[in-house]
Symmetry: C2
Subunit: 363 residues, 2 copies
């Protein structure tokens, strides 16, 4: 059976279990997962409509007619020209008068508002409900690609580390990383690289700027590659020159938290308990107030997806799940440290997809 | 008056005119336009809530607390930790029990579904209604950045052209372009470059692949730069070697359509009439059925925004508007040609922001 046909059948089965009548997807990784179709999400309405029973309908701009011919899975294709209203086409694919419609979480709100009229009388729920259940445990091929994507990120991290020198800017290193990801075979980066030096390190999602690296800086380097659609995501923190006593203590606390998180990963453990394990190490070092985010997120076709390793998430980890373990300590105005690996839970236990050294490296 | 304070006041005035009680923005170019804040849009809820009268509220993840300190415009900041529910914070910023809420067009649907409960009893409309009115006519600083972004794209196009040779792949040229945009001073690309060679040229939004350029190929090259938030967007089509008779005829038809579109641009003309002018040239050449998209789109902080030059859009062009003129002819399975410039309507008439030659170049 074709992989996409299999995935569609599985999702329809999950829809019946979740009492969902229609799944309405945008050109996101969800559409890619179910059809293999990859288009550019923009203001032109593109939707895939899957009833719980019955065939898939794709509503696409005319300009994607040829591209859509590559879709192997059985579907009805409706195309619209730029001077037409696509909402009428969506309407023709929806025969029921009410029920539950599951909406792609990353559909543009403008598009959702446009098609809501078609689903007048429906209850709207997040497509996540079914798509996450379908996607959260990766198959062998997916695990292979995620591992390969992780290896690539490790190799790029090594080269990035060797580039770091006093006077280089954050942007320059980010640019180097983007190039290197592609030069070493990545199809793209999985998200804009974070290079946060010195005091900028205290901003977990810092956008690389023109700050020049200075002697003594801690430099947080966080990026990932995209390989046949599958993401990697790694963070290491380097010290430019000799690290001070307190900085070393902070680094070690994060390293221990990373290790504690990894070791906690096991079949059936609650997501929040991995968070608790990593957080415990940082609490014990006295920096609990400065670990200001969750311990990790799932990864796959999206660089952030289920499962989230966060307090309040009591869902169990299961074999095939892949996620980050990325504790950090952030001292506002001073510095930050984060150490992140992607970890897969296999039937033989946890396995790291990133193996770049986690020891403090003074470059 | 601070630029952001001025923009906020203007938008609130527009909200009153459009009977909108709350503007609800996601971390998109809308939020950037009104606050200068640039964050990464992801699964963590980030919203800006602006009542028609009263102060701006920002609901952001705890990890953005430091970043938000850079916002100069007056606002209330509410942050939430990863183990908290941000919807309660949104609720605290909404005091009315009903009315009209304008939703950022690019907010994730999953986030909209989350906050809809807060706006129970409200009517939802697209934020576009006000944001487009605020943003569609660019001020002098914006025009300057868009012109500069266009010049940068021209320079990159020249270098890209010189790289083209038999055996190079689409991906390789796309990679070269991405690098060159940044090497020549761009902050980023404005969208993934399109490099569509030979038969792939018939796909207007072709995703660059491993196809190698062959002698006689027409190669569509479409990309843009991002400069301080402002986008450029240019397309040229090159011939690798000598062009055949029919290909030349097609190329000339597109070139004439580009020229006709540009010449039609004038103060007060309907958007659709520029489309009609460009389309007319292609119709006269006998290829009307193969020009399968609108003539153009606005550009600014987004690479696609109002105004759209498309049949059915009778809105007038006004000074300060900036948009693409990009006719094309696409022969399925054979080839495509597109020639695109960014054009600004100034008080002195139309002005092109791209000036790379439009003649057929046989590389």
């Amino acid at each position: 059976m074709d992989i996409y046909a299999k995935r569609l059948a599985n999702v329809q089965e999950l829809m019946l279990q979740e009492n969902i009548d229609y799944l309405v997807l945008a050109p996101t990784t969800n559409m890619f997962y179910l059809t293999g179709l990859k288009t550019v999400a923009d203001e032109r309405l593109q939707v895939a409509i899957l009833p719980a029973r019955g065939p898939l309908t794709l509503v696409l701009p005319e300009m994607y007619r040829e591209t859509a011919k590559k879709i192997r899975v059985s579907h009805q294709l409706l195309t619209w020209a730029d001077n037409q209203n696509p909402v009428d086409l969506v309407r023709s694919a929806v025969t029921d008068r009410g029920g539950r419609a599951a909406i792609d979480d990353r559909m543009w709100a403008g598009h959702l508002l446009q098609i809501m009229q078609v689903f007048n009388g429906f209850q709207f729920v997040a497509a996540q409900k079914v798509m996450s259940r379908a996607r959260v445990c990766k198959d062998e091929i997916e695990l292979g690609l995620l591992a390969q994507s992780g290896e690539l990120a490790d190799a790029v991290m090594k080269e990035a580390m060797q580039e770091i020198r006093v006077g280089m800017t954050e942007k320059q290193l980010a640019f180097f990383i983007e190039n290197k990801v592609k030069a070493l075979g990545g199809d793209d980066i999985s998200f804009k690289p974070i290079v946060a030096s010195g005091p900028n390190g205290a901003l977990p999602h810092h956008c690389p700027g023109d700050r020049k690296f200075e002697q003594g800086d801690f430099i947080v380097v966080d990026f990932g590659a995209l390989l046949q659609g599958y993401c990697s995501d790694i963070t290491r923190t380097f010290c430019l020159g000799k690290a001070g006593q307190e900085s070393k203590k902070i680094y070690l606390a994060v390293k221990e938290a990373n290790e504690a998180g990894f070791k906690a990963v096991s079949n059936g453990i609650a997501c929040q308990d991995v968070d608790k394990a990593a957080r415990g190490a940082i609490n014990r070092a006295g920096y609990g107030d400065y670990f200001i985010h969750r311990t990790g997120h799932g990864i796959g076709l999206d660089y952030h997806e289920d499962p989230y390793l966060v307090e309040g998430n009591s869902a169990p980890l299961l074999p095939g799940m892949v996620f980050s373990v990325e504790p950090g300590i952030y001292l506002a105005g001073r510095m930050g440290v984060r150490i992140e690996d992607i970890v897969a839970l296999t039937v033989d236990g946890p396995r790291r997809f990133n193996n770049f050294p986690r020891e403090l490296i003074e470059v």
